[in-house]
């Protein structure tokens, strides 16, 4: 019954070839993807420049003199006059007063290029880069694992709920997630800390590792203590985070399931799992990836606040100490870190999107 060569085939196709098909599909597509990627990269570089410049501009255009404020606060806190070194640090941090604004701007970039964020005022004379360097891995560990876990968990459950809307599972989860999604993460952290650490005593009350164990990555006990101390903050963050993904994935999935291509996949007699994964969930996933890029800033904010509640030794705790101590150099460095991290996360999400959605590759 299979036709070998077909005499009936219509040769006179009226369709014009799609625009720009000259060299055949493969190289064209790769070029399209590359162009898209380059455009996004350019945008993020521009945004990074804007953030870094904002960081330069802000303290210089704030009402009052931040250097003076800083020294006054320092005196209030320590109860003694700041040392001449501290006065110098405070003043030079906001730029060499003898240079003009452009000169200060260029100096600022030069320092950044050497990862020189100045010297902490409250922890004088520790360089800010050292403080940030110590805190950063903790935050990256916490935010990385919890975001991935929450996203995967939420997306998977949401896909299942959206596949069969109106099921008992759906009826129970949809309202609960709505409520949990509306809870401020740092408050939920407080409640979790009170309930699980204070009342039940299942978890340590704070910190990132057991201070009695030698601090070394080669030490199994140290690594275990990191897991033990990180468990409650991580669980809280996953618990807060996955609701949003579940909710958005469910709604996209409900809409996708009623798309014609899913109906056709069912008509084709494909196995249910194939229809679910390759047709419905595969398409419903795309908005959730864009959503991840959009949400990463907020997630990072929530993580930092959670760190403060749990005294977790990441950027959040550093930031809290810096804000209460008016340690502007540290605040600025943390601001830059957060911003750059968000930009990098966005770039990654964009790249994944290009890989998953062929339509982006052809956009001019």
């Amino acid at each position: 019954m299979r036709p070998a060569a077909d005499p009936d085939a219509i040769r006179t196709t009226t369709d014009p070839p799609p625009a720009g098909t000259a060299p055949g599909p493969a190289p064209r597509k790769r070029r399209g993807a590359l162009r898209y990627f380059r455009r996004r990269l350019g945008f993020y570089l521009f945004t990074a420049w804007a953030a870094v410049s904002l960081n330069f501009v802000l303290p210089r255009f704030m009402p009052g003199n931040p250097a003076d404020t800083l020294l006054r606060d320092l005196q209030d806190q320590t109860g003694q006059a700041p040392t001449p070194e501290q006065v110098h640090t405070a003043q030079t941090f906001f730029g060499d007063p003898t240079k003009d604004l452009l000169g200060q701007y260029l100096d600022y970039w030069k320092n950044l290029a050497h990862f020189d964020f100045g010297v902490s005022v409250t922890n004088y004379p520790t360089p800010v880069s050292q403080l940030v360097g110590q805190a950063l891995p903790w935050t990256v560990l916490l935010v990385g694992t919890t975001t991935v876990l929450a996203w995967v968990l939420g997306t998977a459950l949401g896909a299942y709920m959206g596949w069969k809307p109106g099921s008992r599972f759906d009826a129970i989860f949809a309202p609960t997630t709505t409520f949990l999604h509306a809870v401020p993460p740092f408050w939920l952290s407080l409640v979790a800390l009170w309930g699980f650490s204070y009342k039940l005593g299942w978890f340590p009350v704070g910190g990132g590792y057991d201070p009695k164990v030698p601090f070394s990555l080669n030490n199994v006990w140290f690594v275990l203590s990191v897991l033990k101390y990180g468990a409650l903050p991580a669980c809280t963050l996953v618990f807060v985070g996955f609701n949003g993904w579940l909710f958005s994935m469910r709604n996209v999935m409900v809409t996708t399931v009623s798309e014609d291509y899913v109906l056709l996949a069912r008509a084709k007699g494909l196995a249910a799992w194939r229809v679910l994964f390759k047709y419905a969930a595969r398409n419903a996933l795309l908005p959730n990836i864009t959503g991840l890029a959009m949400a990463i800033g907020g997630i990072l904010g929530g993580t930092l606040m959670t760190e403060m509640v749990f005294s977790y030794p990441g950027l959040g705790l550093l930031l809290m100490k810096a804000t209460t101590g008016h340690d502007f150099p540290v605040m600025q460095a943390v601001f830059l870190m957060i911003t750059l991290a968000v930009l990098v996360a966005n770039l990654i999400a964009d790249s994944v999107y290009v890989l998953l959605d062929p339509r982006t590759r052809d956009e001019g």
Binding site: Y261, K268, G269, A271
Partner: protein
């Protein structure tokens, strides 16, 4: 008409459930489709013709449910089965090998993130596990060539194809597993007139070769006159007239069929004066006790309001109209 029956639809009713009550989108549909036959189904939008398609293929989505009737399918080998009573699992084995579908909007029917070829190979390999990847791809190439698409377009994504190519590839896809029945839901509404002619010619040629039967749904009666062996006219969820294309065109019995015929220009006949049908289709949630077409019918009279007229064989076709009721004194007036 000596071919054996392929599909016997018997008293099929489909309801749309709403919190306010149900609306009957198809009621008491009965017809027999023979092997290799093309049955056209024509009607205005809202007449229930698309609902009929999803019910026949058991693809209806909530809140639609099949509330009554049977769809008896006669396989080439083996016992007849009632598709309405089949489980989803049992149906899955029949789908595409016996029962394929071509849907309306080709853009939305192809998975946008899958290559065209992959959308052929997955169904080919599902129904024939012995087929390896390369052979399936090869077969996909043969299929698209049948509808005039070069096999080197297989790696393309749907958005890279033109509208006509997508629509034709859907027809090729429907034929992938050599089905007995292909159900087509307005497959030519989204393409221009030239492409429409090509597609119809192709469907006829492929039917000649492979011998599948077709249920072809459209609002365009003139198109069916060219294509179908028999035509069913639907109004308000019921078949009001069914018969051969020629009979229906030259000797329409039901006033609605007449109206429908006279509101389209004929393709290959001298032009007639065109006239529309006044009014609009009725509300299915609140059906009239009598003939649903009554309020719009030029020949309505008291008998029309009493009961829904059943299908009656009148000469060569079946008609649901009291004008052909031998007990009706007005019946003498018929055309």
């Amino acid at each position: 008409m000596t071919d054996p029956a392929l599909l016997q639809v018997d008293g099929l009713s489909v309801d749309y459930l709403t919190p306010q009550g149900s609306a009957r989108a198809c009621s008491d549909i009965s017809f027999t489709l023979r092997r290799g036959e093309i049955l056209g189904v024509a009607g205005e939008s809202g007449s229930g013709k698309s609902t009929l398609i999803t019910a026949l293929t058991r693809l209806q989505r909530p809140p639609a449910v099949t509330s009554a009737g049977r769809i008896v399918y006669h396989p080439a080998d083996g016992e007849p089965v009632d598709l309405v009573a089949q489980s989803e699992r049992a149906l899955r084995r029949r789908r595409w090998r016996q029962l394929a579908i071509v849907m309306q909007s080709a853009m939305d029917c192809l998975n946008p993130v899958m290559r065209l070829g992959a959308q052929f190979t997955d169904v080919l390999r599902t129904h024939d596990p012995s087929l390896d990847r390369a052979a399936a791809w090869q077969r996909a190439g043969e299929l698209v060539r049948m509808v005039g698409i070069a096999p080197d377009r297989l790696p393309a994504y749907p958005h890279e194809l033109s509208g006509g190519m997508r629509q034709r590839s859907l027809i090729a896809l429907a034929l992938a597993c050599d089905p007995d029945l292909v159900v087509m839901d307005e497959p030519t509404t989204a393409v221009d007139v030239v492409m429409q002619r090509q597609i119809l010619a192709q469907v006829l040629r492929l039917r000649e070769r492979f011998g599948f039967a077709v249920v072809f749904v459209t609002h365009d009666l003139s198109l069916l006159l060219e294509l179908a062996d028999r035509i069913a006219i639907m109004y308000a969820g019921r078949i009001v007239e069914i018969g051969s294309s020629a009979d229906l065109y030259h000797r329409p019995k039901h006033p609605y069929t007449k109206g429908l015929r006279d509101s389209f220009p004929p393709l290959h006949a001298p032009l007639r004066e065109l006239s529309g049908i006044p009014g609009s289709p009725p509300d299915l949630r609140d059906p009239l006790p009598g003939c649903a077409f009554g309020p719009r019918c030029p020949r309505a009279h008291a008998a029309c309001e009493q009961a829904v007229p059943p299908l009656r064989t009148v000469e060569a076709q079946d008609v649901a109209c009291v004008l052909y009721d031998p007990q009706n004194p007005e019946a003498t007036a018929h055309a």
